[in-house]
Amino acid sequence: MTAGDSAHEGHGEHWAETVACRVVAAHPFGAFAAVEVVAPAIAAAAAPGQFVMVTVPAPGFFLRRPLSLFTVRDDRVGLLVEDRGPGSRELARVAVGETLELAGPLGTPFPVEGVTSGLLVGGGIGCAPLQYLADELRRRGALVTAAFGFRDLRQARAAAAFDIERLWLATEDGSVGRPGTVVDLLAGVDAAPNTVVYTCGPLAMVAAVQRWAHEARLGGYASLEAHMACGTGSCHGCVVATTEGYLRVCSEGPVFALDTVVAP
């Protein structure tokens, strides 16, 4: 029921070890920053949907922050960071030449085996892991369609950081694309029956996507967020309610089969 249970494990004794990575690119996109670091070991082991635990590069922050893999190209890992609080603010303002400490890749990837058509549904910063997923699906020859929802123009500027050909936008304040939520966008979608839905965003949005997919008779996967302490399965801090009971987002997720998600 959870995706990719045994894939991408066994990275040897260095599993989850912290690596100091040089920042080689950093670009602001509205409320977001796209940051690229050199991280060969992580890039080699990674798969779309996984995440890294990132040390906030300033004293005074006790826990690391989980960030999705936004892009993975050659030996480089890209992150898309939204300034949502004091820690992510520090992360969003790193500069080229500085160092970020990353541990990963962690968690379960999006299953992509045999998929020919993917519908990627993202909300806000939940769009981040979908670029890497789109890259992987495209590499495998699958048709990729994405529907992203943002709150306002400041958030929607992040769209410019994405490279997905068929990308529809909605903003709640109507400033870009269709006014409304990403779920309103889905209402106009007539997806082929072989389409696999991949979604990431706030739990309420994921629940709405789950309902829509259920009605459209489409299967799929959801990547969930939770406040984390360890990120490595030790603390049981990051659980979400699923049809299988409480599961850890960091180790049994973040990717779960869409129909196991329990709406709040």
Binding site: H27, F29, Q131, A156, A159, A160, A161, S175
Partner: protein, 344 residues
């Protein structure tokens, strides 16, 4: 290669309408006034005893200081019957997200202290006199001296608005901690109650298994309200020698480090005694911190160690509190009180 995906579409042009949502209540309309039992306060902030010396400020900055006095009531450092030299130095140092102190209630004794009050003749706000001692008689003696001083001064400044009974200082060597025992606390309150008709706030220690029996005992003996928390008994070592750093060995921990524990205790006391006026404190450094104590049931909020980070701290915290209330749609401090407690 840039982190932006190649072929990324152009950034939408900046929009002049792009600004944060309007506050639900205009800041200027937020009513900060609160009633702390019988005391009308212009806003919820008071200083925490031992962290803000108005006499010292008045000496340095002269009259202008009183025009912009940042607190709604002035709580001086705890005063005892006899002068106390305090503990041997060092007395303070920084800790992770906080600090530790072992001042040991250094004060000139109540008589000399009353003498220094002539320098506060321009203080408009009421004074809540913090009283310390090792036995009920000591507390009563201090209050008696203050009442004698205040007698016939009606209307004169500074005005005695009430008393805070410090039964919770962890830095008195040899002494038991009165505030750890309900019966001992009640005796102190009763002894003071016999000396004054003014409001009395008993300041509770967090160094207890259960704060509610002590709170109940204080209230049962006539305490008008409660103040909490005092500092946590703690130990810091000098890193080279690994010996206790403070001259008094142990000291009291305060600052943001302890805020979550302090909030829990204030919420517990507020839930158990909803009608009792509370002064909440412990780690307040910004307006949101103050609002959190109010949400947990405090009527007034004391600012302690944050005073050490800049003399403008209380004004800033007050401005922030007003803004934090406004953005959440609260028309006043009273509306926010206890909102964290519902369903507790």
């Amino acid at each position: 290669m840039s982190a932006a995906a190649p072929g990324a579409r152009p950034v939408p042009a900046p929009d002049p309408a792009e600004r944060p949502a309007l506050p639900a209540v205009p800041e200027a309309e937020v009513d900060l006034g609160v009633r702390l039992g019988p005391l009308e306060l212009e806003h919820p902030l008071v200083d925490a005893s031992g962290t803000f010396d108005a006499v010292e400020y008045a000496r340095r900055s002269r009259g202008d200081f009183f025009a912009a006095f940042p607190y709604a009531a002035y709580v001086p450092k705890t005063v005892t019957v006899e002068p106390r030299a305090g503990n041997p130095p060092p007395r303070v140092t920084e800790t992770a997200a906080g600090m530790i102190n072992a001042i040991g209630l250094a004060n000139p004794g109540v008589e000399a202290w009353l003498g220094s009050l002539s320098e506060l003749g321009a203080l408009r706000q009421p004074m809540i006199v913090s009283v310390g001692g090792n036995a009920p008689e000591h507390y009563a003696a201090v209050v008696r001296a203050v009442e004698a001083w205040a007698a016939g001064r009606a209307g004169a400044r500074p005005a005695v608005g009430g008393y805070e009974l410090n039964v919770s200082c962890p830095n008195l060597s040899g002494g038991r901690l009165i505030g750890a025992e309900p019966a001992a606390t009640a005796e102190v309150v009763a002894a003071v109650r016999a000396e004054t008709g003014r409001p009395v706030f008993t300041k509770l220690t967090p160094n207890v298994t259960d704060v509610l029996p002590v709170a109940a005992a204080a209230l049962g003996a006539g305490s008008t309200g409660l103040a909490l928390v005092n500092t946590f008994k703690a130990l810091v070592l000098e890193p080279k020698s690994l010996r206790p750093f403070l001259g008094n060995r142990t000291g009291g921990l305060c600052g943001p480090a302890i805020k979550p524990i302090a909030l829990r205790m204030v919420a517990e006391v507020a839930a158990a005694f909803p009608a009792v006026p509370l002064v909440g404190m412990g780690g307040v450094v910004c307006g949101l911190d103050a609002l959190e104590f109010i949400a947990c049931g405090a009527t007034a909020v004391a600012v302690g160690a944050a005073n050490f980070r800049g003399v403008e701290a209380p004004r800033r915290i007050l401005d922030e509190l007003r803004r934090e209330l406004a953005v959440r749609g609260f028309g006043g401090a009273n509306e926010a009180r206890g909102v964290a407690l519902a369903g507790a």
